[in-house]
Amino acid sequence: MNFDLTDEHQMLQDSLRRFLKYSCNSKTRNEALSSETGVTSDLWHAMAEMGVIGAFFTEEQGGFGGTGADIALVFEELGRANVVSPFLDSALLSGRVLAAAGELDRVADLIGGDLQLALAHGEPTSRYDLNYVRTASVNGILNGRKAVVVNALASDILIVSARTSGKVYDEAGISLYFVEKDAAGLNIQDYALIAGGHAAEVTLDNVQGSLIGEEGKGFALLKEAYAIATVAQCAETLGEMTAATELTQEYLVTRQQFGRPIATFQALAHRMSDMLIEMEQARSAVIRAAGYFESDERTRDINIHAAKNLMGRAGRLIAEESIQMHGGIAMTQEYELAHIAKRITMADHRFGDTDYHLEKFMALTQS
């Protein structure tokens, strides 16, 4: 048992943290936020060059990492610096689907920073159910609607799930397709997201797709990719929670009310202590989710569900308490915390929320 970072991880963390501190600030973020697609291509390419995207894939897949620990490390740093960039959806989630399906040329492009992807899987009434697919494929002709597809507009090509057999909640019979951005019958209604970045409603009206991997076997690829994406999301949120807590600590020490720093008001001091305790718990949950990612599936899933549930609860505490203890200033868009709090809260809406993962955890541990 050993909780120290390896030398390689320590180096990666140091260089990432230094780079992000230098290159990410509210100015670059606001540029990303107000850009047409939510993607800052300079940052994307610079990070790709640093090998950040390569860290998401194993050597066999053309990368030089790919473990839970590699990925958690990168995303925690992205979260800590409050980076708005679609690494999670475009590179990790979509990329791991392609890597598992053996599409290694595309993965190489991705690692090089030359490809933007989007995974169009969720549907208007699927909520967080991964097995819900109503979009239908008949001989590669797709019909249906995909909901809140992150990074759709900026993507070079879409990955779309569709049902080739079975009923709407069946795991078997889900297939994956490439869909060209200029395909006839494809409509992308783009919108900005509260926490930054863009997503879209994607409608498919007799759209030609090209099969990825084996027909009807897409669910396993999706499940695996969503699992690692959930770990990444937890790690990113941990970074954001760290940033929020540090800002709040600093504010309590600096801000004067009634003639003294508000950190000296015991009610606030005790609540800050509770936040710090939950931060340690959150860090442990992420360490477990990342560290057990290579274990057997049950151990892996138990720890991922546990982590996402705990992050949902601790994240809410940290976001809400940070705002409350700051007071009015935290309500303003220009103050860093507002942005961080939105990212922490919106993380609960990705890859299953607090209750969704609690139920999955219950199913695995109480049977």
Partner: protein, 397 residues
């Protein structure tokens, strides 16, 4: 003890319902229901409709044109308005300034300003908070120096809701800096069109632009616009703060919000069933509904005592804390209920557009509302300040 409405109360409720059915347009109520930002016209229109009905000022004495309803009637009215999604009446003139003028203003001030509040000729905003002051209201720095028949005002106010619409502002200003904090404060009425006043919007984290900074540079205010005595403003400010606390529990908003959560959760599917049948979500909904039922009765108990002569002091603080906890919990449930559709950023205010929302359950605004309503436990005396008041009253110290 009798928990049921009397016959008179029921008749009054029917009257309110009929009024709302007739006068509140579908367009306006839908805008309110979906959390859209109301225009100045929307708000002024509803103000005028209520005024024409004589229902604009429930708390005012009849002599000034008020309705003089009792606590139960006020509760019924608030409840019906909230569940019909009527716009909230802008409170700054009606519920904040007016009680101060009625109690401490001189005859000229009463005669001049009160009718203009009812008619909507003046739109008032509030100049209390200052940057850096926060909950420590009495540490304010905006200065007013007497020069002949004028005060010259310099300084900055913040968190001024609807400052962009207002033509008048009531302000706390420091007229004596040598005495201790609460002393030396005066209460001034200032025309927003006076040279030297600048209003700058503050964009809130949900993208809304309701609140403002107001800057004063050598602003001339006639001495006749001083309310009460110079340096006695803190007394009037405290009086205003107790009167600010009408409908402080926000039971009507919570009731409407909870109904919306249930409506969404009946439509939203989870694992092949409506979300409302998911026991964990349903339990969250049920718990807050139980809290809200109790809050409804707590509110009625307290306001009916107030009507019977008792002043709502520490009880108002209790209503504020628990009322905001319940409202925020309902906001949280709403954002959970819509699932991934909580993520889109939809703000007509910022984008100036009116595109159809991207999902099937009118989900768009719920996350924005969740973020926006973090303010209700901060502004108007934070929940920490309220807890301090409760402890002080109940345990001294």
């Amino acid at each position: 003890m009798d928990l049921n409405y009397s016959k008179d109360d029921l008749a009054f409720r029917d009257e309110v319902r009929a009024f709302l059915a007739e006068k509140l347009t579908k367009e306006l109520s839908e805008k309110v229901r979906l959390g859209g930002d109301l225009t100045k016209n929307d708000m002024e229109g509803w103000h005028a409709i209520l005024n024409a009905q004589g229902w604009l000022a429930p708390n005012w004495p009849k002599e000034h044109g008020g309705a003089e309803w009792n606590a139960v009637q006020r509760h019924i009215f608030d409840d019906e308005c909230a569940s019909s999604h009527a716009p909230r009446v802008v409170p700054f003139g009606l519920s904040m300034l007016a009680p101060v003028l009625q109690k401490f203003g001189n005859q000229l001030q009463k005669d001049h300003w009160l009718p203009r509040i009812l008619s909507g000729e003046d739109w008032w905003c509030q100049g209390y908070s200052e940057p850096g002051a926060g909950s420590d209201l009495a540490s304010l720095k905006t200065k007013a120096v007497r020069e002949g028949d004028d005060y010259i005002v310099n300084g900055q106010k913040t968190w001024t809701t609807f400052g962009q619409h207002a033509n008048m502002i009531f302000c706390l200003v420091r007229t004596d800096s040598k005495v201790k904090q609460q002393a030396g404060i005066s209460f001034l009425l200032i025309d927003m069109n006076t040279p030297g006043i600048e209003v700058r919007p503050i964009i809130l984290l949900d993208g809304s632009a309701e609140v403002n900074e107001v800057w004063f540079t050598d602003v001339k205010v006639p001495v006749k616009n001083l309310v009460g005595k110079e340096n006695d403003g803190w007394t009037y400010a405290k009086y205003l703060l107790t009167h600010e606390r009408t409908n402080i529990a926000g039971v009507g908003f919570s009731t409407a919000g909870l109904a919306a959560v249930k409506r969404i959760a009946k439509a939203e599917m989870s694992g092949g069933k409506p979300l409302i049948q998911n026991p964990l979500f349903a339990a969250r909904v049920a718990q807050v509904e139980i809290d809200l039922m109790a809050m409804n009765t707590t509110n009625l108990r307290i306001v009916s005592q107030a009507a019977a002569g008792g002043a709502p002091g520490v009880e108002a603080s209790m209503l504020k804390v628990k009322g905001t906890i319940i409202r925020q919990e309902i906001n949280d449930l709403a954002r959970r209920a819509v699932g991934p559709y909580a993520m889109p950023f939809v703000s007509e205010a910022v984008e100036g557009s009116n595109e159809p929302l991207p999902d099937p359950h009118d989900a768009g605004p719920v996350a924005a509302q969740y973020f926006n309503n973090r303010k209700i436990s901060i502004f108007g005396g934070s929940n920490e300040i309220q807890r301090g008041i409760i402890a002080k009253v109940k345990m001294g110290g």
